[in-house]
């Protein structure tokens, strides 16, 4: 390697990032579908010959971070068989993709006959065929219903486009011309990149460029290693659930994470995850691994430009044919849900390794709402797509931001304009408000979710929802409490309410003129004990109308005098009283498997002595949380067991790891609280 001076290194790095920015500008300028040039649902990246991310820009993490897995698949198939003018097209989730709508173009760039870079573009194509318009079906049971699956193929070979192949693909997708436009814009972006890369190489020489890339990867790797090294070595654990429904109702699917930190390396092991299911709650290894990475980058090293070096100290284990590494023929449309849940398990596990760097749980779902029909006023078909964001988790320094895109979403706009919507669709927005009391209580509370009410003003329509997090609420950490989950229902024209039997999973519910759809996004979990929240912060929340006086008094323990000022003395007394009334129980280490069956998966039973169940006022199968002052809560379902010693709870190794306690230690026990949200 030649010696690269630090200035050349920075200038070349800036040049490479600039290549990606120009790719983005090209897509933006040439794309033809609204989703691309308005919602900017696309990402660009630059990869080296081994498929490592070299540079990216303001792209969507959910797109670009899983891209290396696609490049890897392409290299598997064509490694020795790539020539100038070849262009690879793919979207196969089973081969390193995300979901079928994310169509990827990978473009090999050569220098003197040698493969040097791969610019790549991943665009969300608005339709890739399949059972429903838009291809994202909440009721898919096989991948075939989700659209055309494209393994890595050469769509251009030595500069010649494979027209018949492209025709076959486009003929199976809705709005053909728009799809062709999507394809062309990706291609144009890669060509821009090729041109700029050639300019850079003629200025700096290929060797200097490659050396700079290598140095960049290495220093990013070192930086991530230093950050991991700063965390205490050890085993950390968190478990969470995806939501499905069987014949007998709610069937949570287990997603456990064993996180091991050994010096400057980290392994995230999802062994024990639920088998894949014939429903859209599965996603791919690429999505899972990328989500682990997004969580780590967002907590340990947010400031630094993204490249592959910082992936290197990270190992992800996700067994095949599970919800986190889906295989043929299960649907793979739920990347937005698996991503959020993997990030949640990472936050849960990291909250013990690095209590101050993480947030509490974030709004748990990408919350895809679709309202479609024919507007009788114009006679034309419409689809309104909403993905209103929710609250973010509380932080060591601050309350969680309300109604804001999560860390995996890049710069996506998530709240749509009422004035635009009402002018375009037969919909009337009655309110677009923060959900009062929705944020998980805590020393720093979770951000508030949104409640939007939309009334159908003309004709009939159908409503679909592909979501998760409608039963299990976002968790708090370090004593913080749960935020409100997703809640969607219909207020019929006559005033009656319709609540869905499978919350979060709705396919084609009929709406009539005058019906109002209520869409409530999930909130964020709380950080720290609500009883230690500053009294003036509680008082401000009350003044701002975000926290009701009842919650301020009963959850935060803050008491007010007749002038609505905080009464510090009474508050002190009330807080002491609330603290004393908390249920405590001793943990007893055992070897038993605590889980009970849940559809094809399992869920955690927490076995208590029947007398304790009575004393604590609990019910069999009620959802509860056990927690220590530090770290995440352990969630489970109450089981009655006479053999359990009074005042104790039996705990397996993973449970002990999650709680971070030793045998005989006392922990808090509380019912899983679902905040009741008002407006």
């Amino acid at each position: 390697m030649t010696k690269i001076d630090p200035i050349t290194l920075e200038v070349v790095t800036e040049g490479l990032i600039s290549v990606v920015r120009e790719m983005r500008a090209t897509v933006f300028r040439t794309a033809r579908s609204v989703a691309i040039y308005e919602a900017r649902d696309f990402s660009c990246g630059l990869f080296d010959a081994r498929g490592q991310v070299v540079a990216q820009s303001e792209d969507i993490g959910a797109h670009v971070v899983p891209l290396p897995w696609s490049v890897e698949s392409a290299l598997e198939d064509f490694g020795d068989d790539l020539f100038p003018g070849d262009v690879i097209l793919m979207n196969d989730p089973y081969r390193g993709g995300t979901h079928l709508n994310d169509v990827t173009i990978i473009y090999p760039v050569f220098e003197n006959g040698e493969l040097v870079f791969f610019p790549a573009v991943r665009e969300h194509w608005a339709d890739v065929g399949g059972a429903v318009p838009g291809s994202m079906s909440g009721t898919a049971t096989e991948i075939y219903q989700e659209g055309m699956r494209i393994p890595p193929i050469k769509i251009l070979e030595k500069g010649e486009i494979n027209k018949p192949l492209l025709e076959v693909l486009l003929s199976n997708m809705r709005v053909r011309d728009e799809r062709l436009g999507d394809f062309n814009s990706s291609l144009a972006a890669c060509k821009t990149a090729e041109r700029r890369l050639n300019e850079l190489t003629s200025r700096y020489s290929m060797q200097v460029m490659l050396d700079c890339v290598d140095l960049n990867l290495r220093r990013s790797e070192n930086r991530m290693r230093e950050n991991i090294n700063a965390l205490p070595n050890g085993q950390y654990y968190y478990e969470d659930y995806m939501e499905t429904f069987g014949p007998d109702g709610f069937e949570p699917l287990l997603l456990p994470l064993n996180l091991t930190i050994t010096d400057d390396e980290m392994t995230a092991d999802f062994t024990g995850a639920s088998p894949q299911v014939p429903a859209p709650v599965n996603s791919t290894l690429a999505v899972t691994a990328a989500s682990v990475y997004i969580a780590l980058k967002s907590t340990l090293d947010p400031a630094h430009a993204l490249n592959h070096g910082s992936f290197r100290p990270l190992h992800v284990v996700a067994p095949e044919k599970t919800i986190v590494n889906v295989g043929h023929p299960a649907p793979a449309g739920s990347h937005g849900e698996i991503r959020k849940r993997v990030i949640a398990t990472m936050l849960g596990a990291l909250s013990r390794a690095s209590p101050e760097l993480v947030s509490a749980d974030i709004h748990r779902t990408s919350f895809h709402n679709l309202i479609g029909g024919i507007d009788p006023a114009s006679g034309s078909e419409y689809v309104h797509y909403e993905w209103a964001c929710g609250g973010n988790g509380g932080l060591m320094e601050a309350d969680g931001p309300s109604a804001m895109a999560a860390i995996d979403w890049g710069d996506l706009t998530t709240v749509q304009s009422t004035e635009v919507l009402e002018n375009r669709f037969p919909l009337h927005v009655e309110r677009a408000q923060l959900g009062i009391d929705s944020g998980g209580p805590g020393q720093h509370r979770g951000g508030f979710g949104m409640r939007r009410s939309l009334r159908l003003t003309r004709g009939t329509a159908s409503y679909s929802l592909l979501s998760d997090g409608a039963i299990m609420p976002p968790f708090g950490i370090h004593g913080g409490e749960s935020g409100a989950p997703v809640d969607c229902y219909v207020i019929k024209k006559d005033g009656g309410e319709h609540h869905f039997s499978r919350p979060g999973k709705v396919g084609g519910y009929p709406l009539s003129e005058g019906d109002t759809l209520v869409l409530q996004s999930a909130a964020g979990g709380g950080y720290g004990d609500a009883l230690s929240r500053k009294t003036d912060a509680v008082s401000e929340d009350v003044k701002n109308g975000l926290v009701s006086i009842g919650i301020a008094e009963e959850i935060y323990g803050v008491q007010f005098n007749d002038a609505n000022e905080v009464d510090e003395n009474k508050t002190g007394e009330k807080r002491a009283e609330l603290l004393a009334s908390r249920a405590k129980i001793k943990v007893k280490a055992v070897d038993n498997d605590p889980y009970v069956p849940s559809g094809p998966s399992k869920r955690r039973g927490i076995s208590l002595n029947p007398l304790d169940i009575k004393t604590f006022g609990l019910k069999i199968d009620q959802k509860i949380e056990l927690l220590d002052a530090q770290g995440p809560p352990l969630r489970g379902w109450v089981r009655s067991d006479e053999t359990v010693v009074l005042g104790t709870v039996c705990m397996d190794t993973n449970g002990m790891l999650l709680l971070g306690v030793e045998d005989g230690k006392e922990v808090q026990l509380r019912p899983l609280n679902i905040p009741s949200v008002t407006y």
Binding site: D5, E10, T26, T30, Y37, R219, T414, E419, R431, L434
Partner: protein
């Protein structure tokens, strides 16, 4: 007859004076007297020795509005909004300000939720009353605002662009209840749809308005007290001047008042030199403003932001990058070298200021390389400490294992790479190649870095206008008056007749004429342009399309839009075209300001100094701009000095001065 252009910047208050009897143009500079800016203005006027009654016009560029918004010290604002929409101003569009950063939180809102009150009322998108305004709730809100000490009220009702009746009625009620409170009505400030953007612009207006109004009132009274009775005009973000009264009422239009003068002056230079396409490069202490000018016109946008808040008032599309002379160079974890956006500011300032700054800055790099002369840079206000600069740069150099000169050069190269990234991005977004443009560089630090920037952009030709340090003030002298009025009414283009179109535009045209006549313009100096904001049905972004006057037919408008769309987005569509907004721009033409001819002085042999280029100290010739002969070409390495700015001519470039004292740098061997 004397006219003044006065630009108040963060560090200096600049004045350019035109004596219309002699044609003489002179510039003056005094330190800015923050926060009592009017003092500095009087100080700099005194320097001119002009008799008060000789001054016939003053045009002023100011930063009061911008500073108020950025420093978050504006008025106590109360908002009244439609029931159910209290949180529009709180959550905005739900974007995440910093990607991949879990600790990202929103800055505090302009108006806390407790001062955002809801009333029952609702218009539909077509302007029909859906729920009548409950006036008693407006009165109740006024009562609460009084208790809260509210100083300005923003009225933000849904669909008020379609029918302002409820907002107008509420404004009337507030006026009688709270006579001392300023009122910003969303349908007046920005009668366009998309509630968050309109509400935000209106709330910004309410937030900065009282400060701007107080400032302008004070300034006018001080001028009067000094017997200066010339009308005071304020540069607006839209590149035109406003009457001080209008600006006090719609202060949100002053957020780009500072940089706009330089851009409009650049257009003048472009005309003078017959170069239609230029990129302006205005580099100051903490930030750099750039703007793309095509065919002698700057691009307008309504997509502006102040911090997190959208500002949809029509404004010149200026890209601001957080890098300037004071930008700090430092290493972050993992040995990543950064230049900015952190700035040393005025205090402590760069190390070479000798005010206790220890970190190396861009200015220090220029001192170490010998490009800035220690004893008379920066308007002669500050003596630069070469040793302090060298020490700061050396310290960083040791960590990088580089000589101080290499380090300094690296800082400049890296700063240039960062500063040009956004220029490259906007040009490619428009399908343009920066290499087809000429760079016009000004601002205190612009001429110092222009060649480096041009190299990075692949530009061969650079223009340094006269008085580059006070160029924005010069721009104010020559600026036209300009107002933008608009109205949103969603209408399919095919459904509208020529007559309907004229009927819709007519009130806007009349409003424009009224304003310009009131400002003293005569018909021959009034220019009106009509625009439609058009889009293909179903899209959410509009493209502004000029419509000719008189209009021949609607098809002609469709074709014009399609051509503009294709130029911008590289393809055509077949979807029907829809009108979103109707827009009229009125310009009151000011007399052209002619640049005075260069008084060339024959000079002797120039001085020389060692200046570092590409890691070698070369003997550079040092010139005084005022003493350069016309037409003679100077070969780099050379430094051209003048009051308030220093131009660097690197090896490989030549420089020559023309009749109007305009300096042109050219890459040797290029056209």
């Amino acid at each position: 007859m004397i006219t003044l252009g006065i630009d108040v910047g963060g560090t200096f208050t600049d004045l350019v004076m035109k004596d219309h009897r002699t044609g003489e143009l002179r510039s003056f500079k005094t330190p800015t007297t923050s926060p009592h800016f009017a003092e500095g203005i009087l100080n700099v006027i005194r320097l001119t020795d002009a008799e008060p009654d000789e001054i016939t016009a003053i045009t002023h560029g100011m930063t009061v509005a911008t500073n108020t918004a950025l420093e978050m010290n504006g008025a106590i604002v109360g908002v009244i909004t439609t029931k159910g929409f209290r949180d529009v101003l709180i959550v905005g569009r739900g974007n995440r300000p910093n990607l991949y950063d879990i600790k990202t939180v929103r800055p505090p809102p302009l108006v806390p939720r407790q001062r955002i009150l809801e009333v029952d009322e609702r218009m539909t998108g077509t302007g029909e009353v859906h729920i009548a305004l409950k006036e008693s709730q407006v009165l109740a809100a006024c009562k609460q605002f009084k208790e809260m000490g509210v100083e300005a009220v923003a009225l933000c009702f849904l669909h008020s662009y379609a029918n302002p009746a409820h907002e107008n009625k509420a404004a009337e009620l507030i006026k009688s209840e709270l006579p001392d409170v300023s009122i910003s009505v969303s349908s007046e400030i920005l009668p366009e749809y998309r509630e968050f953007e309109r509400f935000s612009t209106t709330a910004l207006n309410a937030y900065v308005g009282p400060k701007v109004a107080q400032y302008l009132e004070l300034l006018e009274s001080k001028l009067t007290a000094n017997s200066i009775n010339a009308p005071l005009r304020i540069m607006g973000s839209n590149g035109g001047t406003w009457s001080a009264k209008d600006m006090a009422r719609e202060a949100v239009n002053a957020l780009l008042s500072g940089p706009a003068g330089g851009v409009t002056a650049s257009v003048g230079i472009a005309h003078l030199l017959n170069i239609p396409n230029i990129i302006t490069y205005d580099m100051g202490g903490t930030s750099t403003d750039t703007c793309l000018i095509r065919n002698y016109e700057y691009e307008m946008t309504t997509e502006g932001h102040v911090g997190m808040w959208p500002n949809r008032a029509p404004q010149i599309e200026i890209k601001t990058v957080g890098a300037g002379g004071g930008s700090v160079a430092y290493l972050s974890q993992g040995k990543f070298l950064n230049v900015g956006p952190r700035s040393a500011g005025a205090i402590p300032g760069p190390a070479c200021y000798g005010r206790g700054g220890k970190e190396p800055t861009v200015t220090d790099a220029n001192v170490v390389l010998g490009r800035l002369r220690p004893d008379r840079a920066l308007g002669g206000e500050i003596d630069l400490d070469h040793d302090a600069a060298l020490k700061a740069i050396s310290r960083l150099g040791q960590e990088l294992d580089l000589t101080p000169e290499r380090t300094a050069e690296g800082i400049l190269r890296l700063a240039a790479a960062r500063m040009t990234a956004s220029v490259k991005e906007i040009s490619i977004m428009r399908g343009l190649d920066p290499r087809d443009f000429t760079l016009v560089a000004y601002g205190g630090a612009g001429p110092l870095h222009a060649a480096e920037i041009a190299k990075e952009l692949g530009i061969n030709k650079i223009v340094i206008p006269p008085m580059p340090g006070e160029f924005s003030a010069f721009g104010l002298l020559a600026a036209d008056t300009r107002y933008d009025v608009s109205r949103t009414k969603l209408t399919p283009l095919n459904d509208i007749s020529l007559e309907d179109l004229q009927d819709l535009l007519q009130p806007l045209r009349e409003e424009m004429r009224r304003r310009l006549y009131r400002d003293g313009f005569q018909e021959k100096n009034v220019q009106l342009q009509a625009f439609l904001d058009l889009r293909y049905a179903g899209q959410a972004f509009e493209l502004r399309t000029e419509i000719p006057d008189p209009i021949q037919n609607i098809d002609h408008i469709t074709t014009t839009f399609q051509a503009a769309y294709e130029e911008r987005y590289a393809h055509r569509d077949t979807a029907p075209v829809e009108i979103v907004s109707f827009r009229v721009v009125g310009v009151g033409k000011s007399p052209n300001i002619k640049l005075p001819k260069h008084a060339s002085n024959a000079i002797g042999k120039p001085e020389t100094r060692l200046v570092s280029f590409d890691n070698a100290f070369l003997k550079a010739t040092i010139h005084k701009r005022a003493a350069l002969p016309i037409g003679t070409s100077i070969l780099g390495p050379a430094i051209i000095e003048e009051e308030g700015a220093t131009t660097v001519v690197p090896p490989g470039f030549s420089a020559s001065l023309d009749l109007f004292s305009i300096l042109t740098l050219q890459l040797v061997g290029s056209d």
